[in-house]
Amino acid sequence: MKKTIITLTILFAFGCLSFGQVTDPLISNCAINAGPNAKYLKDFRIQLGKAANQNELRYKTNMSLWKNTKYRFTMCNAANSKGQLILAIKDDANKTILSSFDKKTGKIFSFVDFECQKSGIYQISYDFRDGQQGSAVGVVSMIK
């Protein structure tokens, strides 16, 4: 019995350690396939349940973006994701700079290039279309 507990403890500890080393293939594939000349900078893993209301995009983070740099924001949905990931970026004055979802046509862009001319800290927001539940990754790269 004692042996079994020790073995289980070791296996559990090993499992925990190994878990930290694994890179989510959704992230690596999305980052590496962001396009030629795209240099990976950051990723955001988004997993959300169905929204109670659809007023605002739910996943929010901040990121500094720098003048004279062209960024590519790529959205990749997991195979089993019900919703499609959408992105919006606001500046420090809360002004919407871009959205990957065109409300008029209903079109969702899988990537958006942003030619930044104003250095600052921007609010990056993600959600799934119509507040659906879903699993996806947003990758930020730099392009030449």
Binding site: L17, G20, Q21, T23, I27, S28, A31, I32, A38, K39, Y40, L41, K42, D43, T61, N62, M63, S64, W66, K67, N68, T69, D91, A93, I97, L98, S100, F109, S110, F111, V112, D113, F114, E115, C116, Q117, K118, S119, G120, I121, M142, K144
Partner: protein, 303 residues
């Protein structure tokens, strides 16, 4: 009387409409208080700290700018004096891990992957010393560095490894080491930019140095909770505060405009027409260059 009221109203309306006009400029200023109260720092949630750490610009972005400006690679900018075997405290190790990470980014961006193997082995030693070696995929990085087959993958794995270390440290109550690593990455990137601008004076590069004012406060927020922990932290906090003082009179102003969007190749391209403008004198830039060099040289010296 009626005429005066109407004139006054016109003036008020005119005044407001001027404030909202497209030619309006705003200015970036540090928050009112120069020092951040400890109580404010303690209120920061783990999410806020994670956000701050994401705000800090990647050294890859500085290296990319240097490449755009066709600045040749120089080995002289690297922190070659760092001896991984002579780092005694966790403070030293975490800071050096950040500095070497920035050097690795610079080497990778310039495709100097052969030279990066030495830096990699130092990173490995230090990462293992502070028990985060398991998050660094050394074998894959080494393999990709050797055969130069896929630089995009190499960049991804290198940055991803650092992100994992940062997440792990923050979620395991070792936030002070995460803060040090981030400061190390930033100071080395700043050193690289300031050393290059000395030799290749360029407006775009000096602007990027001036724009670091935007994130300096966040960097100070990250380390502020630890400033009184020990003399090493106290000294680093003082260094960062001194650097912030050098930035005090550098002005960043903004002009307004609406973004322009174009659909191309299935994607959307947004061109920003708002701009940020850095107003920095030669003396102010020199002050930042000197202060950055002093701090960075002190940090990499093997005591």
């Amino acid at each position: 009387m009626k005429g005066r009221v109407i004139s006054l109203m016109i003036l008020v309306v005119f005044g407001f409409s001027c404030r909202n006009s497209k030619s309006k400029t705003a200015e970036f200023v540090f928050p009112q208080s120069d020092s951040i109260p400890v109580s404010e720092v303690e209120k920061l949630s783990p999410e806020a700290i994670a956000d701050i750490s994401k705000n800090i610009s990647s050294p890859v972005e500085i290296a990319n700018l240097l490449q755009t400006l066709q600045v040749p690679f120089s080995q002289n900018y690297l922190a070659e004096s760092i001896d991984a075997n002579r780092q005694s405290t966790s403070f030293d190790k975490a800071l050096k891990l950040g500095i070497l990470g920035a050097d690795l980014g610079y080497l990778n961006m310039y495709e100097k992957t052969g030279s990066s193997l030495d830096v990699l082995s130092s990173i490995r030693k230090i990462a293992e010393d502070i028990k985060v070696g398991q998050f660094f995929d050394f074998e894959s990085i080494k393999r990709l560095s050797k055969n130069k087959s896929n630089l995009d993958s190499l960049l991804f794995i290198s940055i991803d490894s650092y992100n994992k270390i940062d997440n792990y440290l923050r979620s395991n109550e070792r936030g002070q080491l995460s803060a040090l690593m981030i400061i190390g990455v930033w100071i080395e990137g700043q050193y690289l930019a300031t050393q290059v601008v000395n030799v290749f004076p360029d407006k775009m590069l000096s602007d990027r140095i001036g724009e670091q004012k935007i994130i300096l406060n966040d960097l100070l927020l990250l380390i502020s909770p630890y400033c009184k922990h020990d003399p090493e932290f106290t000294s680093l906090c003082k260094d960062m505060q001194d650097l912030k003082d050098k930035y005090r009179d550098i002005r960043i102003t903004y002009t307004q405009g609406d973004p322009v969007s174009v659909e191309k190749n299935g994607g959307l391209t947004i061109k920003q027409t708002e701009t940020s403008v850095v107003n920095m004198s030669k003396e102010q830039l020199t002050g930042v260059i000197e202060m950055t060099k002093n701090i960075r040289d002190r940090l990499i010296s093997n005591k």
